[in-house]
């Protein structure tokens, strides 16, 4: 199993969710996060004074999936989240050791 973490632009969430639903991914977790990459924060101006916001708001999406579906999921996220500008985000893929459904105790791919 793979654990996929995607950091995306907040306004792309709906497109990403729809793209994942379309390929049959039925569960994901979203967290509001802040960070910076090449985008290096943003500038805001209040009463003429410039404030640099070092950490910009992003969304973190987490998905657990079977090994054979990982590429499909990554492609779907990348296609849906991409605008072509700096700040579109990143996708990280980790090996996932175990998954357990709390309600039934089912394990691993049966639990996804």
């Amino acid at each position: 199993m793979k654990f996929i973490i995607a950091i995306i632009q907040p306004h792309r969430l709906d497109q990403v969710r729809e793209a994942l639903l379309a390929i049959g991914i039925n569960g994901l977790t979203v967290t509001e996060v802040r960070g910076y990459g090449r985008q290096k924060g943003q500038k805001e101006i209040y009463r003429g004074a410039e404030y640099s916001i070092s950490f910009v708001p992003k969304l973190k999406i987490e998905i657990a999936t079977a090994d054979n579906r990982a590429t499909e999921v990554i492609d779907a996220i990348q296609a849906a989240a991409r605008s072509g500008k700096v700040g579109d985000g990143k996708i990280f893929v980790l090996d996932l050791e175990q998954a357990i459904r709390v309600r039934t105790g089912e394990a691993n791919e049966d639990a996804l």
Binding site: E44, I45, Y46, R47, G48, A49, Y51
Partner: protein, 403 residues
């Protein structure tokens, strides 16, 4: 007694109190970091209550009793001679109402200064500075200009407090900010935590200002109505102008900028609100916005003083500008008034009054800050400042989200 006049000033009094609680409190609280939101709100509440009690004890008496050129007398101590039926001289409203109306001015003026010292001051210092400041700065200046003192005899024109309220607060704000030192990290501080709250506060100030300026007519008639009209026009014009400056300078007009323009326009029209007509109001609003915009920059970048929420740049400069421009604008267009002396003579009087009030505010505040520093200390510790005054000074937290 005139029931129409009385009714309007009753309403005005409530509107002016609303300017402090909660309008100014919101305006300031939205501009600070989330960790200091409650400290600003409680400072506004405390200053309002403290000023009220001091006004009863001796503030009103020293400002409005007696005929001395420098200070009133003690004849109205604890309002001891106040009766239900007494009419305030020269008006058709009860003395009780005049006491109360003026009390709301005595509340908002020290509250305005809060904007200079937020996010780093000791709470005890807030109370001590505000109390001493009310008695030693606000009360004498009020007597000089509105209580028949020497500046009134000189012919100073200050309808609703360009000097009495805004210049005193603005200059004192700068002095306190200078003595207190800059906030940790200045000028790289976090931006305003809740711009929406700034807008709510500014809008309520705008409405409250109708009581402030139109209420200063002390009657319900043409003077009050014209004061309301010019006040509104000045605020609207100033808002548009500030937005325009930001739009051309930075490419985007901001909400915080727009409503800062509103307040600049309101402060600028204040001393002139009972004298000018609609065109005068528009001109004052436009000038106030431009001059305050650059004044804010000058204090932050030029003086490098952390007058955190721009009390001098917006209030002090706006109120002074209106005071100095009004001789030239009173007779402009329809609806204005006429001066008692030639324009330039009046202008000289306005300059003299501005210098006298400015100097008194600066020197007096310097002494008050010195005394306060000795007695209770000015600043919280660096750790407390970084933690935020909400928890460090008051044991509370403004926002409990998802917990």
């Amino acid at each position: 007694m005139d029931s129409g006049d009385t009714a309007w000033i009753l309403v005005s009094t409530a509107l002016v109190l609303l300017m402090t609680l909660p309008a100014l409190a919101f305006f300031y609280a939205g501009l600070v970091q989330a960790k200091n939101v409650l400290s600003v709100l409680v400072q506004c509440v405390a200053v309002a209550c403290l000023a009220s009690v001091l006004w009863l004890i001796c503030g009103y008496s020293l400002a409005f009793s007696g005929t001395g050129p420098w200070l009133g007398d003690f004849s109205a101590l604890f309002l001891n001679n106040l009766t239900r039926g007494a009419i305030h001289p020269g008006t058709h409203i009860p003395e009780t109402l005049f006491v109360m109306f003026q009390m709301t001015f005595a509340i908002i003026t020290p509250a305005l200064i809060i904007g200079a010292y937020v996010e780093r001051i000791r709470y005890a210092a807030v109370l001590l500075i505000s109390g001493l400041w009310l008695l030693f700065i606000y009360v004498p200046v009020t007597h000089w200009i509105w209580g028949g003192g020497w500046l009134a005899r000189l012919g100073t024109m200050d309808y609703a407090g360009g000097l009495v309220v805004h210049l005193t607060a603005g200059i004192s704000a700068l002095v306190i900010a200078w003595r207190l030192g800059r906030r940790e990290g200045f000028p790289r501080i976090n931006p305003p935590h809740a711009p929406w709250m700034v807008m709510v506060g500014a809008s309520m100030l705008w409405v409250g200002w109708f009581g402030f300026n139109a209420g200063s007519a002390l009657s319900a008639g043409g003077d009050a109505a014209m004061a309301m009209l010019v006040t509104h026009l000045s605020a609207a014009t100033a808002t548009l102008v500030w937005m325009g400056i930001e739009w051309t300078s930075f490419g985007k007009p901001s909400l915080v900028g727009a409503v800062t323009g509103t307040i600049a326009g309101l402060a600028t029209i204040t001393p002139a609100s009972g004298y000018v007509g609609p065109i005068g109001g528009v001109i004052l609003g436009a000038c106030g916005s431009v001059v305050c915009y650059y004044a804010v920059h000058f204090v932050k970048r030029g003086l490098k003083t952390d007058d955190a929420l721009d009390v001098l740049g917006v209030h002090g400069v706006g109120g002074t500008l209106g005071t100095l421009l009004l001789p030239f604008l009173v007779s402009l267009g329809a609806g204005g008034t006429t001066l008692a002396r030639p324009v330039w003579d009046q202008f000289i009087v306005q300059i003299e009054a501005t210098l006298a009030v400015g100097l008194w505010s600066a020197i007096g505040t310097l002494v008050i800050v010195f005394v306060t520093a000795k007695l209770v200390g000015l600043r919280v510790s660096r750790d407390d400042e970084i933690q935020g005054l909400d928890y460090a000074s008051h044991g509370e937290t403004g926002y409990h989200i998802n917990v």
